[in-house]
Symmetry: none
Subunit: 296 residues, 2 copies
DNA sequence: TTTCCTTACGCCTATCGTAAGCATA
DNA sequence: TATGCTTACGATAGGCGTAAGGAAA
């Protein structure tokens, strides 16, 4: 036989007033049912909670203990719905963001600080992965949102552009381009090019071959990690076409020169997510991304 | 409008079964009233807890949160009468200790027997949980003291070290290391490593990567349960870096070899508690822990 | 005699179970 | 067509309020 929450409320009221009449008034009821509630409660837990003769009411030691527990219980009862509500409205919750290493340079930090500002109840986990993995992770529910390239994204996910930037040429310190304020794509010939991998970093590979006549250059390496590429540039192994945000890597001896005849916004970073996600916090984050124009 | 405990029980049953019919059977009732209970609960807290069409039932994120709270609520409901009964029987205080599975091997038994000796009037309850849950449970009053790792503990709780121990390598019977009296961390290369989960068992994960070059090994699994890890070692799926107390598991075919070049006290176990607790027995237990040097 | 907790009795709300409804695979 | 959640309806149990009881100051 178990007690009820009404009995707990009754018990607390009596324990606080040490007077059935006053407690009943506080509970908006008459004394008799209150007496019965307490009796039932005592019977159900098998312990006398109040010492009462017709003139005064006191808590037994067991009652003292039960009162402490009852307060905790009441706190839980009030907290549980509040938390559920907060989560349902997306104000609280958890978001797991999958991102490529390169997207973490600029945009991710910006996104995170805006989230901390506008959605303080949403805790964030970051998982590093490439775009192709992100799509899989989205469908498996491992991540809620992915930051990646808009390339080869299946139609079941939704995307929105979050940022765009330029392609730049990364060149070592004493290269002929070093010190220039811009380079035309046609000038990039007879160079040793460190290329993005056509398989693992297909988006950058495609961008590069779209704007640069790679056939006119020697291809030195084919890599997927931007950090490795820039380090190879620093080591004088060649030049590379990279996104401008790579310049935030600040590798010594590498300078980044804009391409004069390539549009400023060819490198796009998109947020991708599963529109069927039931995570309410996701909606909030998407709204944040859309309304706050993160690309600014 | 508030919910009832019966509704909480109904909710838990449905959440565990994800099937109204089975849950109703478990509750010894028919489906229709159960459906109504859930509907009422959802209405009273103003949040949808289940996503349900006629073919399947799933928890919403809000429902997930509410489930966790519901378990806590239920634990309180069951504990409150027990505590009152203990007091009525003559105990003068109670302590609920939250502990990770692994801490129960050595230290907990020691602590309990010392408490039985020095604080015979204090009744003790044990709740199994991981360190992150302990902090939450402390703030919610579900436990009075937690035994856990000193990692990522917020400053609102107080802690004291209770024990420290070595890291050892768990290896299967016929492994090349078996029979050795020690292994250097540098020797652990080209092995198949069974790792602790970087999220659920972050403390051990961090310890492992601090002392072992994990990059030189193949990672087989990422787990949080020490027992599972040791059993996988026994099954020959790899070797694992575990705390020495895991050796008390006595899993057949697994031997534990100390790491020669890792300090003896890297694995720390701390007691953590809420300094604002009003439980008088807690002070006594903290004093006991501090004075009796349990780490000896 | 007054105070105030408890017991007694009638009403009413709420929940249960059975039965029918209805959408999906 | 079968499964399984939901709505409808009648019966019942449990709680509330009013009224009466009883012990202490």
């Amino acid at each position: 036989m178990k007690f009820t929450l009404a009995q707990i409320l009754s018990f607390i009221a009596v324990a606080e007033n040490l007077h059935f009449g006053k407690a009943a008034e506080e509970l908006n009821m008459t004394q008799p049912p209150l007496s019965r509630q307490i009796q039932k409660l005592e019977k159900s837990i098998g312990v006398q909670l109040f010492e009462r003769n017709n003139r005064n009411v006191t808590l037994t030691p067991a009652g003292e203990s039960f009162l402490a527990e009852a307060y905790g219980l009441l706190a839980s009862v009030e907290r549980a719905p509040r938390r559920a509500q907060k989560i349902a409205e997306g104000a609280w919750g958890q978001i797991t963001i999958g991102c490529t290493a390169v997207s973490s340079f600029g945009v991710l930090g910006d996104l995170l600080s805006r989230m901390a500002d506008r959605l303080p109840g949403v805790s964030v986990e970051i998982a590093e992965m490439v775009t192709a993995e992100e799509v899989k992770a989205l469908s498996e529910g491992l991540i809620d949102i992915g930051l990646g390239r808009p390339d080869r994204v299946p139609s079941i996910v939704e995307t929105t552009q979050i940022h765009s930037e330029r392609l730049v040429v990364a060149v070592p310190a004493h290269h002929e381009f070093a010190g220039r304020t811009s380079v035309a794509s046609s000038e990039i010939a007879n160079q040793t090019l460190i290329m993005h991998s056509p398989t693992k970093a297909r988006y950058f590979y495609d961008l590069t071959v779209r704007y640069i006549d790679v056939g006119a250059n020697e291809i030195a390496h084919s890599l997927s990690q931007i950090l490795t590429i820039v380090n190879l540039v620093a080591a004088g192994r060649g030049i590379a076409i990279v996104s401008e945000s790579a310049s935030s890597l600040r590798v010594d001896g590498v300078s980044y020169i804009p391409l004069s005849d390539v549009p400023d916004d060819v490198v796009e970073l998109h947020a991708i997510w599963n529109p069927e996600s039931r995570n309410p916090a996701l909606r909030q984050v998407i709204d944040l991304i859309r309304n706050e124009n993160l690309s600014a």
